[in-house]
């Protein structure tokens, strides 16, 4: 996928002016956010589960070489093949090589963020192989030739009307004026269209939520069952996964599964959690004859031991973006690459470089919500600050910002001057906004007030109020 992360600011402006997008993103609170809260309320062990999950990943990362080798040995023993890929290009070539051995014309695909990361679809198409996304959301955006805007709900930026319009445009063999006004009808149409494709595909490609060293197993978690049909019906199953997906045992995977669905969709458990070990056995009546795992590094080994190591605990649940005020305002596309929201703001600069993605760590109000909801307790705000520091050191941050921070530092280190100045400004602002209590435009703050109002201060500074309270 071609990255436009450098254009985050411009992307965001477009998003904020898009009324349809606003409507689509408005579904998120009633959906993921409330459902997660309700489900977690039923699990009094939640904090202990989070701590256990974090410890599992920390332990695994500290011994990643050992667990990867143990995993590989088990995959081999069960008749599968592990392919190691340093870069996206290597991973693409490996997938292509496997597809060529069976002369593949079409491949079906379960949802995989790693496939997005390595730009697999475009590449396969260039090589004359047709990739077909089978996750409903992925299928819709593939028809629209759009990238996903969310890591588990790729079409969250679309309304049902837009989906209906897309289906009418793409499924031209169907009656043009068929009814598509209901969600049910849209899901049925996609189901029928995709059924035949599963059987026709030569290769099925899935991602993996976890790789289990103890048994050489890859795990996928879905609700639709599309990943299962994808890996069951073709002759060849390829699972593509990044290094950090590894966990030691079935028990470890089980603990993380207790965290995943609840954090993601607010379900107690997803409809289908599937553990795959090797190809079909000699007596099995169905299942793939070949099983391959592509293990992708793509910069991750270099994150170990750095201030960004904690990011490798991520289980891609999406809670951080579902709860992020910036994400819910601008949507996933504004982030310009595969991974949006807070996890993307941290991960993207490590994967595609801070020059390209340097704006992303600034896409934060530092409200801290992401870290609070992250099941793996990843200190996302802290890591965004690390990026900002690196940016500031490299003088990559905008001049106005460096000037502003410099000026603030000058004042803040001179307490009396600071008090005087803030008091004057607070008083001035409250006078200026006396009627409405808010500003619809403000000099120097156009970036803020173009898309929302600025609440006016109450006329006193925090320090003055604080002093008053204490003296009571």
């Amino acid at each position: 996928m071609h990255a436009t992360s450098h254009a985050f600011v411009a992307n965001s402006k477009n998003s904020l002016n898009d009324a349809t997008l606003r409507k689509a993103l408005g579904n998120m609170r009633g959906g993921f956010v409330n459902k997660r809260a309700a489900t977690i309320a039923k699990v009094p062990e939640w904090e202990a589960l989070r701590d256990t999950g974090r410890a599992i990943k920390d332990h695994t990362l500290a011994h990643l070489d050992f667990y990867l080798e143990a995993y590989e040995a088990k995959v081999t023993a069960s008749g599968g093949v592990v392919h190691w890929a340093r870069t996206a290009e290597e991973a693409r070539q490996i997938v292509l090589g496997i597809c060529r051995t069976v002369d593949a014309k079409t491949v079906t695909k379960g949802k995989s963020m790693i496939a997005e990361e390595i730009g697999l679809n475009d590449f396969l198409e260039q090589k004359g192989i047709t990739p077909i996304e089978t996750d409903l959301g992925e299928y819709i955006i593939q028809l629209r030739q759009e990238p996903p805007s969310h890591i588990i709900a790729p079409a969250i930026h679309l309304t049902a009307e837009q989906v209906a319009e897309t289906f009418r445009k793409s499924h031209t063999h169907l009656v043009p004026d068929r009814p598509l006004g209901e969600h049910r009808q849209l899901v049925e149409e996609a189901r029928t269209e995709l059924r035949a494709k599963y059987f026709a595909a030569d290769v099925g490609i899935t991602g993996a939520n976890f790789l289990i060293a103890e048994t050489g197993t890859s795990v996928i978690v879905t609700n639709e069952g599309n990943g299962d049909l994808t890996q069951l019906l073709p002759k060849v199953h390829i699972a593509i996964a990044s290094l950090e997906k590894i966990v030691p045992t079935l028990e470890d995977a089980t603990t993380l599964l207790r965290l995943l669905a609840r954090s993601a969709t607010g379900q107690e458990f997803s409809a289908y959690t599937t553990f795959s070990t090797g190809p079909r056995r000699a007596e099995d009546p169905d299942g793939p004859e070949q099983y391959h795992v592509v293990l992708l590094d793509n910069g991750r080994s270099g994150m170990l031991g750095s201030e960004f190591q904690d990011m490798l605990r991520c289980i891609r649940c999406s809670a951080c973006m579902n709860h992020c005020p910036v994400y819910s305002a601008v949507g996933g596309h504004a982030y310009g690459w595969v991974y949006p929201g807070p996890m993307g703001a941290v991960l993207t600069p490590t994967l595609i470089g801070v020059d390209e993605a340097g704006h992303l760590p600034n896409a934060s109000t530092f409200c801290g919500k992401c870290e609070q909801v992250c099941p793996m307790k990843i200190p996302l705000p802290k890591m965004m600050r690390h990026w900002r520091e690196r940016q500031a050191e490299a003088k990559l941050s905008p001049k106005a910002m460096r000037w502003g921070i410099g000026a603030w530092a000058f004042m803040a280190t001179r307490p009396r001057l600071y008090r005087l100045f803030t008091r004057a400004v607070a008083f001035g602002l409250s006078l200026a906004a006396r009627k409405k209590g808010r500003f619809t435009s403000l000099p120097l703050a156009g970036g803020w007030t173009r898309v929302r109002d600025m609440p006016a201060p109450q006329g006193q500074t925090f320090q003055a109020l604080y002093a008053k309270r204490r003296s009571r």
Binding site: E45, E214, L232, G278
Partner: protein, 221 residues
């Protein structure tokens, strides 16, 4: 052969600031891999068996599965026929070979084939290896007696669960599967029928897999 594998492992060790692991550490890690030590579970599963059966039913029902009881395995064909009639579904079944000994012929209204599913199959009947009360989850394993296609292709999936197979935690089923040797190609954990929320976050059942999941608990076993 590319050097990717060696390069990646080197890079990991370099970043971690160490060489390969010493023998003692490695032995400890191997021990961890084989110890099968359980971690924290949910208190909701610390119950006696009768309560776990109730919890399983409640959780499965909350996931839009339907649950009914049968006294013994001989009652399975009758219960399947009744369910299909109630739902107005065709009485043609594809059944897991594991259930070949059930007296299907006593229900002449049912036509029964044993083996894997094909696209035209609308109703399947399978056993499970375990059922987890924690979340109302069924666990099925692949093998000659229980092809995986039965779990995904038909519109309606009917599952027979022995009452004694219902346990509290997923880990209980892992122990059971390990007792049978190496993991089979596929272990499916199934919680309710297929669903999607991909369009405007409204849940629709029957996205790609079964639209209906009907669970028959066999009380005698």
């Amino acid at each position: 052969m590319s050097t990717a594998r060696a390069d990646i492992l080197d890079s990991i060790r370099r970043s971690l600031g160490r060489e390969g692991l010493d023998a003692a550490t490695e032995a400890g890690l191997r021990q961890r891999l084989t110890a099968h030590r359980r971690q924290i579970g949910l208190a909701r599963t610390e119950k006696d068996h009768a309560e776990l059966v109730t919890l399983f039913e409640d959780m499965a029902t909350a996931l839009a599965a339907t649950v009914a009881h049968i006294p013994n395995s001989a009652a399975l064909p009758g219960a399947v026929a009744t369910y299909l009639a109630e739902q107005n579904l065709p009485a043609h079944l594809v059944v897991a070979p594991a259930l070949q000994n059930i007296p299907w012929a006593e229900r002449p209204t049912l036509t029964v084939r044993f083996g894997k599913a094909v696209n035209e199959d609308l109703v399947s009947v399978t056993p499970v290896i375990g059922a987890v009360a924690e979340t109302g989850t069924l666990v099925l394993t692949s093998g000659p007696d229980s092809p995986t296609s039965l779990n995904f292709l038909p519109d309606t999936h009917i599952v027979m669960v022995n009452r004694s197979q219902i346990t509290g935690r997923y880990e209980d089923v892992w122990d059971k599967i390990r007792d049978q040797g190496a993991l089979p190609r596929t272990v499916n954990m199934i919680s309710g029928p297929s669903r999607t929320g991909d369009i405007e976050q409204t849940i629709q059942l029957g996205a790609h897999g079964p639209r209906r999941l009907h669970i028959l608990i066999l009380d005698e076993a």
